[in-house]
């Protein structure tokens, strides 16, 4: 890799008691890259992501963000400059949509007028109606709208890096597809570096530049879908084959397109 990575993991480990949640992982994410992390439940995906903005501390190895060792950076400042979309949404139920979105700029001491303008801009960006949604509480939103607010909040302080933990999980397939495409577009437009965790191999292949596969805390393989398909690992190949197998089964079950 020629240029310095935006995020670099080097021999990173994290244990919870005897459990090796992340086990000697080395992974570089380049500027502007869209990386998907896939793997089974409990394989260490979330743990790997939380290490990057020091929501938890590594037991071994080094992590760099924009070239700096995260251990030398104030964790609060670090988190304010990295956007994070939480697995369960993580919206504050007592704050309005606007206050949720504007939280990080507010913590950074931005003037109120700037925050208001920024919130409106973001609502537009994630395609939420400004007047209808601005002052609602999260409980008055649909699941998809909440996910959009979560994305908007992560982008509010104009981060260069966005970490997303299953941002489009628990959505109906149509919404999920649309949201994914929308975000891919935002990623490109804003020049973000994005790391997205997903269970769904199809989503990973469709959205990401590169895919990292986790299993049992270890990084099994990383690369573009094409690179992965040459991997010798049976589990990786099995994962890659899943979308195509599903398509074949669907084709067999559904009448060909056009027929009604």
């Amino acid at each position: 890799m020629p240029s310095r990575p935006m995020i670099g993991y080097s021999h990173v480990s994290k244990n919870f008691g005897a459990l090796k949640a992340v086990d000697d992982v080395s992974l570089d994410i380049a500027e502007g890259e869209f990386l998907a992390i896939v793997g089974g439940s409990g394989s260490g995906k979330t743990t790997l992501l939380r290490l990057a903005n020091r929501l938890i501390e590594a037991d071994g190895g080094t992590i760099t963000v924009e070239g700096e060792d995260v251990q030398t950076v104030d964790p609060v400042a670090l988190r304010r400059r990295i956007g994070y979309v939480f697995q369960s949404g993580g919206l504050f139920p007592h704050l309005s949509v606007a206050d949720n979105i504007g939280i990080t700029p507010r913590l950074l001491g931005a003037p109120a007028a700037d925050i208001t303008a920024r919130v409106d801009e973001l609502l537009e960006l994630v395609q939420l109606d400004r007047r209808a949604h601005r002052d609602r509480l999260p409980e008055a939103l649909s699941g998809g709208q909440r996910q959009r607010v979560g994305v908007a909040r992560a982008l509010a302080a104009r981060p260069r890096i966005v970490l997303m933990d299953e941002p489009f999980g628990a959505l109906d397939p149509l919404t999920r597809d649309a949201l994914g495409e929308d975000f891919r577009e935002l990623h490109r437009k804003l020049g973000l570096t994005t790391v997205m965790i997903t269970h769904d191999m199809t989503e990973a292949i469709l959205l990401a530049d590169r895919i990292a596969v986790m299993r049992g805390g270890q990084l099994l393989a990383q690369g573009t879908p094409a690179e992965l398909s040459t991997s010798g690992d049976a589990y990786v190949l099995e994962l890659l084959r899943t979308p195509r197998r599903q398509v074949e089964r669907l084709n067999a079950l559904l009448p060909q397109s056009g027929a009604a």
């Binding site: 929501l55 609060v76 304010r80 939480f86 139920p93 302080a157």
Partner: protein
């Protein structure tokens, strides 16, 4: 006649600014102190299970102590603390009234605040605390912007519970010298003034409801992030505090405070003393319903200026004497002993409130009984009743020893019922109290005690150390000394036991003065 035509409602109402004001002040101060201690503790221990468990256990133990006992405990505790600070730093403080009441009530308020605070803070979804961290909040910001607002409903429920408990329990602070709405209840129960009892109960219930509603208003304001209800609630509570300050501002702190214990005779006498001081142009207030262990210490410490006690009581409880002396000797010795504490024994009022053996006059005449010595011969065929403690008191042992008394049967009875029981012949003799009004009502005879087995219980007037040289005070009180004979006091007590407008301590005190003033 309508219930509300009773003039005692008016009398009750006239005390309201004073009682309610003090009640609000002590309750809200206790609540504020309780919150100032409990909320930080709840916040500090929210992530520390071990200290949290200890704290909750301690608060629960405090809660199991009955309110009255907790309040009573703080008085000697503070007395001790005051004597320690006096010895070490040369400063002392009053262990009477406001301070012990506030501290005990504050302690009492802690459990619901702690428990709900901890529950509320621990009940927050950990994912939200992680999200707070993730968007870049410091621990402090997370607490203020996320955790406290989310825990607010549960915390406020605890605060509201505490407020209601404290306001209710504050009615029990009367015996340790804190004026409160409990003054109505204690006085009402002792003088059978049900108007006062009802008034006190309603007033404290209404106050508790009002404060609860105001807190609810603040809570909903905070929750909906709208300033108006929160501000209204805050203004309401502030107004409550201010309103209670106004009537007491004008009151001179130079006022003489007359103490009274918790029975009707004491209420009447304190009203009488207060009236005499006021008649002499001195400003005076009565502080009634004080516990009998509190009142002497309060006099010694100067928290009250004067009160009426009984020689035999002080002889046993303060001098810890078990021997019995003739009354003049006992009084002289008591006077000397009290003088060591700089307390002035101004003199006797003229009557005794002692234990005495009592039987119907007619029956006594028929049997030819005039004294306990006469009774001894008939005792084996007679039955006796006494209150719950009499038969274990030294007086009873002394009576048996001096006169060789041995009754056919002995029973324990509620004091109120004894007199009727002996009048109706249900028992033959009772151990009554010499100044009780029912002695006159049922035409009973108090048997002489020629061998002085029962110590004298002369009603005596005591002055606080700081009033030792106060000649105006003494001059105002001198007309009472020796004037209140036993028959008059009995009649006064009988009046006070009635349940009508003329039976209030103030009314009876006026009647009493009309009787004895001209003497």
């Amino acid at each position: 006649m309508s219930l509300f035509a009773d003039p005692r409602w008016g009398e009750a109402l006239s005390h309201l600014p004073d009682y309610l004001g003090n009640h609000v002040r002590v309750s809200l101060a206790a609540l504020a102190l309780g919150l100032a201690i409990s909320l930080p503790l709840a916040i500090l221990t929210r992530n520390r299970p071990a200290p949290r468990a200890v704290l909750l256990a301690l608060a629960s133990i405090v809660q199991t102590v009955p309110g009255l006992a907790l309040l009573a405990l703080f008085y000697p505790l503070l007395l001790l603390a005051a004597s320690v600070t006096l010895a070490w730093f040369g400063i002392s403080f009053s262990a009477f009234g406001f301070l012990p009441a506030m501290l005990a009530l504050a302690l009492y308020s802690m459990l619901p605040v702690l428990r709900n605070g901890i529950t509320g803070l621990n009940g927050i979804d950990p994912a939200l605390i992680e999200a707070a961290k993730g968007v870049g909040m410091t621990a402090r910001q997370s607490l203020i912007m996320v955790e406290l607002p989310l825990a607010l409903p549960v915390m406020m429920a605890g605060i509201r519970t505490a407020a209601v408990w404290v306001i209710g329990t504050a009615t029990l602070s009367t015996p340790i010298g804190q004026t409160s709405l409990g003054n109505y209840i204690f006085a009402g129960l002792q003088t059978q003034n049900w108007v006062f009892v009802l008034f006190g109960c309603f007033a404290s219930a209404l106050l508790a409801l009002a404060v609860d509603q105001l807190l609810g208003l603040i809570e909903s304001g905070l929750r909906q992030r709208s300033r108006l209800p929160a501000a209204l609630g805050g203004i309401g509570i502030a107004a409550l505090v201010l309103a209670t300050l106004v009537p007491t501002m004008g009151r001179s702190s130079q006022s003489y405070v007359v103490g009274a214990k918790t029975f009707a005779e004491q209420y009447v006498l304190s009203a009488l003393l207060r009236d005499r001081l006021q008649a002499a142009g001195l400003s005076a207030t009565a502080r009634s319903g004080l516990g009998s262990s509190v009142i002497f210490e309060a006099l010694k410490a100067g928290d009250i200026d004067l009160y009426v006690d009984y020689s035999g009581t002080l002889w046993a409880n303060q001098l810890h004497r078990t021997d019995i002396k003739p009354r003049a000797e006992l009084l002289a010795e008591l006077k000397t002993a009290l003088a060591k504490d700089h307390i002035t024994l101004l003199g006797e009022l003229g009557f005794e409130n002692a234990y005495a053996l009592v039987m119907p006059k007619k029956r006594a005449e028929a049997l030819g009984i005039r004294s306990i010595a006469d009774l001894a011969a008939h005792a084996p065929t007679l039955s006796i009743a006494g209150d719950y403690e009499f038969f274990s008191r030294p007086e009873w042992a002394a009576l048996q020893k001096s006169y060789g008394l041995s009754f056919r049967a002995q029973r324990q009875m509620q004091p109120d019922f004894m007199y009727a029981a002996v009048a109706s012949g249900e028992v033959d003799v009772i151990a009554g109290y010499t100044s009780d009004g029912l002695i006159a009502k049922y035409d009973l005879l108090v048997l002489d005690d020629p061998r002085h087995a029962i110590p004298p219980y002369d009603a005596i007037l005591l002055l606080a150390p700081k009033r030792a040289g106060d000649e105006r005070l003494k001059t105002a009180l001198l007309p009472l000394l020796g004037k209140v004979d036993i028959a008059t006091m009995r009649e006064a007590n009988l009046r006070a036991a009635g349940n009508d407008a003329n039976s209030s301590p103030d009314a009876v005190a006026k009647w009493l003065w009309e009787k004895v003033g001209k003497r």
